[in-house]
Every structure is written in C-alpha cells, then in structure tokens.
C-alpha cells in the first residue's frame, strides 16, 4: 500500500474503498479540519479578547448571552449577518467583495503548516517558515485592495498608512524568524520544534524573540502600533465603507492573526508541544502548545490594552533606525558566535540533535552576547530618550519666551 496512506485513508481502503478515492477523502477531511479549527477558534477568541480587555479596563465585559457571556459572539455574528450589506455605488465591486475574503484566507492559510502535535499537522512543508511570511503578504494586499476599491479618500489614506507599516515591519520579522531557522538548520516548522528538544530557542536567542514579538504586534496592527484602527485620526481606516459580515471578516482575521502569532511564537521559540509527558499522548502535546500559545496571546492582549498609540513617524523611525539594524546585527552575532564555537569544539556541529548538556556552553555564550547587546541597546535608548526630552523642553521654553515677549 501507499506509504502516504495511513490513518483514515488506511481505514477506508480496508473497508473496501478505492485507494485513490480513500486518499482524496482523507486529504479532504484534513483540509477541512485544518481550515475549520481556526474558524471555530475565532468565535472563542473574540470572547476572550473582549473579556480580557474588559477586566484590564475594570469592566465586566460580555455577560448577558449564555454563561459568562460565552454566546455573545454568536449573537453578534447573527446581528452582523442580518445587517444590510452596503456596497458603495462608486466602488470596484469585485475587488471590494474579494478583499475581506483574501484578508481572512491569508490568516487561515498559516494554519496549514502549523504542527499541532508531533503527528498532527496539515502539511510539513520544507519551507514552512517562509510559507508563513509569503502568505502573510496576502494580508497586506487585501488591505491595499480594500482601501482602493472602497473609493473613499479616508479608506485609501488609511490603507496607505497601514501598508507602509506592514511592509516595514515585515523586515525585522523575517530577520528575527531567521534566528530559529539558523539554529534548527531547517525551515520546516516540525524540524524547528524537534530541534528544541535540547534547549528552547528563546534561551539561545532571546533578542530574536523580542524582535519577533514586537514586529508581530505591529503586523497585526495592535497597540502601540494600531494605525489600522486609529479611530480618532482616520474615522476608521481602510475598512470605513464595509458593513455587516464583510466588516466582521476583517475583524475576525485580525483576532485570529493575533492568536496565530501566539501559537507561532510558541512553536518557534518555546519548544511548541514540548513539556513534561508530551510523548505520552498527542493530547498532552496539544495541550502544551495551546497553553504556551495562549500565554503569549494573553501578554499581547495585555500590552494592547495598556499602552497608548504611537505617532506614525515614531513607529517608522523605531522600525528603520532601531529594529532593522538590531535584527540584522543579532543574526550576524549569532551566526558568527556559533561558527567560532563550532571551530573551537565548544559547540556541537549539529545543534538540532544535541542534548541539553552538550548545548550548555553554547547557551551560556549566546546568552552573554545577547545580554551585552541588551545592555548596550538600553543605554542607547536612554540617551535618545534624554535627547528627545531635552529638545522638547527647549522648544517649550522657546515658545514660552515668545509668548512672554
């Protein structure tokens, strides 16, 4: 029998189905599951997001529909579906309707490569990490199309701002993503997780994790980078003309993207499903991944609800003058240190298969390098902050002088 034909496919063949048909059916079920899980997850996520935001802002949050407001999202969905579906007369009808679909699909497609457990995943692509970046670029495209097709100047202005933000922050995101790829020696997400058996990559390169975290917060358009939804500045942004479920799809995509990034960070830096007893059962492995992803997801919500929005020039300056050089330097230092240590024989040749003890010297050296960089960077940031403060004080003094004169 075909080697690829296992599990459900095998079961179907044994019960007398045609081999080709069985293969096709099992693939179909897999595709439906992988795309269906995020769709169901997002219903819960919206509730979680609203509840967490409410608690941080000292409110109760949704609490009327169902137990502790759990069914609130379903009620909202029915409301959105029953709303009038408005398409502006001057809009580009096809592109206007396609944009929300592309936006949502760009997030759901990421789930195709996410390994839930060592044995359960949509597909283990050789280029998994790159696939994630490539697919995410569809999200940028969707926003651009939505802004243009609405034929509304505020929508277009909003889209411009968002796209410049997304394109800029993709650079440090990819450089940070390269650190786990470099350490694992593979772009497949399954290999990256398996390579963390010895040591989690967050310990080997904490700076890469921080850069990834910050840029993914920007990629999802969350505070302090929430230019997408700058209500007070842009009316609403690129989605101003959208109503009903089409508007809802943009939002569902955003909520899901945040959680997806949490899961991705758990896979790339926190050892994915690794944890006590994970090899006992796929369910335990899945629970570990969910717990780690959920924890990172919670911190992003926390951050979103605590920090104020930055100005667009501050966001851009922070990216191009700080994050991009830092992410490049980080990668150069990691690869250089690894190569030197491998030549000296301190570090194992094959990091992916090394155990905890073999990796200890490598870990210590990389941690020291990361720590030194952090201290230097904090000093740099402090100096810049002081300069900015001094300038603003001088400007204020000059203004006061002018008023007095």
């Amino acid at each position: 029998m075909d080697e690829l034909c296992t599990g459900l496919c095998q079961l179907l063949v044994e019960s007398g189905a045609d081999a080709g048909l069985a293969h096709f059916l099992s693939l179909l079920v897999g595709v439906l599951l992988v795309s269906g899980i995020p769709l169901v997850t997002v219903i819960v996520l919206i509730w979680v997001e609203r509840k967490v935001a409410a608690r941080i802002q000292d409110r109760i949050g949704p609490n009327r529909v169902g137990p502790v407001g759990l069914l609130q999202t379903i009620a909202d969905m029915i409301k959105l579906l029953s709303k009038e579906d408005i398409t502006p007369t001057a809009a580009d009808r096809v592109l206007y309707n396609a944009a929300p679909l592309v936006s949502f699909a760009s997030v759901v497609l990421i789930w195709a490569v996410i390994p839930f457990t060592p044995f359960h995943f949509g597909v283990d692509l050789e280029i998994g990490a790159l696939f994630f970046v490539a697919v995410a670029s569809f999200g940028t495209l969707a926003i651009m199309v939505a802004g243009w097709a609405s034929n509304n100047k505020y929508a277009l202005l909003g889209a411009f701002r968002v796209v410049s933000l997304l394109v800029s922050y993709e650079v440090p995101l990819v450089f940070a993503l390269l650190a786990p790829v470099l350490l694992a020696g593979s772009m497949s997400l399954l290999d990256i997780v398996n390579a963390q058996t010895g040591m989690w990559f967050v310990v080997l390169s904490p700076l890469a994790f921080v850069i990834f975290y910050v840029s993914s917060q920007a990629e999802t358009g969350r505070a302090p980078f929430d230019l997408i939804e700058a209500e007070s500045e842009l009316v609403a942004g690129f989605n101003i003309e959208y109503s009903g479920m089409k508007f809802g799809m943009f939002f569902a995509a955003e909520f899901l993207h945040v959680f997806t990034n949490g899961i991705l960070m758990a896979l790339l830096f926190f050892g994915g499903w690794m944890g006590p007893l994970y090899y006992e059962s796929p369910l335990i492995a899945f629970a570990w991944l969910g717990a780690k992803g959920g924890l990172i997801y919670f911190t992003t919500l926390w951050l979103r609800n605590t920090v104020p929005r930055l100005r667009i020039d501050q966001i851009m300056a922070f990216n191009w003058k700080f994050l991009v050089p830092l992410s490049i330097a980080n990668l150069v230092f990691i690869s250089l240190a690894l190569k030197v240590m491998q030549e000296l024989g301190v570090s194992p040749r094959n990091l992916a298969e090394a155990g905890f003890v073999e990796l200890l010297p490598t870990t210590v050296v990389l941690l020291v390098i990361n720590g030194a960089m952090t201290v230097y960077l904090l000093g740099l940031l402090r100096k810049r902050g002081q300069e900015a403060r001094r300038e603003s004080m001088a400007a204020r003094a000059a203004l006061a002088q002018a008023v007095a004169d």
């Binding site: 580009d92 592109l95 696939f131 995410a136 670029s137």
Partner: protein, 173 residues
C-alpha cells in the same frame, strides 16, 4: 498526457498565468491591471510548486506579490488618472512583430543553451531540495561567486537609490 493531479494543476496555473497576463493588457483600469499582474505571478509560483521547487514558489509570492506588486500599486496611485484611461494604443502591427520576436528569442535563448537544441525525453529523476539549493549557493564549487556578485550589486543599487532620493536640504543635518 494522462490526467492526474499534476496535469490538472498545470492547466489551472496556466489559466492563472495567461489569464492574468491577458487581464493586464486588456483592462482599462491601472489598479485592476496590477491585480491581474499578481494573479499571473501567482500562477508562475504554482509552476514552481509543480517543478518541486517550493522555495522558489514562496520567494516568488513573497517578493513579487508581497513587495514588487505592492510597490507598483503605490506607484499607480500616484499617477494622474487610474481608472478613466481614454487613449488607446493603436500601433498593433509593430507591437505584434516586437512581441513575436521577443517570444522567439526567449524560446531559443532559454531552451538551446539548456538542452543543446533538442528537448529531453523526460525530466531528470533527481529532485533537488531547498537544502541543496542553499548549499549550491554558498559552495565554492557551486555558485558562490555569482551569488556574492549579485549581493554586492543589489547593495550598491540600494545605496545608490537612497543617495539619489535623499533630500538635498537634509544633508547638513
């Protein structure tokens, strides 16, 4: 040609590539033109998948759709009339001859050096992985010199672009 998944995929991606290209040259709307261009480029990415080169497919989508096409949309938005183009390009015969010549040059320029004038009976059985591609790019017996040269060229072009685009007044600061 037997009907299997690869054949169906080839047909679908050909429709994407050629249909997208057709859309680019026929639409009267520049923005829709760029979207058609993306459809066409997406089809090319599909070909790379069929040719067992997933890395190139991902790069195709990342670079061409994610970066270059977005850049083109930005440029298109800055042009004066995006949607209501009245002028029609009427010199059909010269452009037909030109495109035919270009097609023939590409056809022979690409196939002759690779296959030595005659097409091979079947594709080579060995399928290179992304790892092989990466090793070939940095191996001293492989393509390390062209790779480095291309990198230097791109860096020089990028620095050049920054220097040209730089505001004269900002130089003092």
């Amino acid at each position: 040609m037997e009907l299997n998944a690869i054949t169906i995929g080839f047909v679908v991606f050909t429709i994407f590539t050629l249909g997208g290209g057709f859309g680019v040259v026929t639409t009267r709307n520049l923005f829709q033109g760029t979207i058609w261009l993306m459809v066409s480029l997406f089809g090319v990415a599909g070909y790379f998948i069929l040719l067992s080169a997933p890395f190139l497919a991902a790069v195709q989508i990342l670079v061409y759709i994610g970066a270059i096409a977005i850049l083109i949309t930005f440029a298109v938005m800055l042009t004066r009339s995006v949607t209501r183009i009245k002028e029609r390009y009427i010199r059909i015969v010269p452009s037909f001859i030109g495109s035919l010549l270009l097609f023939l040059i590409l056809l022979f320029g690409v196939t002759v050096p690779i296959f030595g004038g005659h097409l091979p009976e079947s594709a080579p059985q060995y399928v290179a992985s992304t790892r092989d591609l990466g090793i070939a790019l940095v191996d001293e017996n492989g393509y390390v010199v062209p790779f480095l040269l291309a990198s230097v060229l791109l860096t020089a072009a990028m620095i050049g672009a920054i220097v040209i685009a730089r505001d004269e007044k900002a130089k003092g600061g």
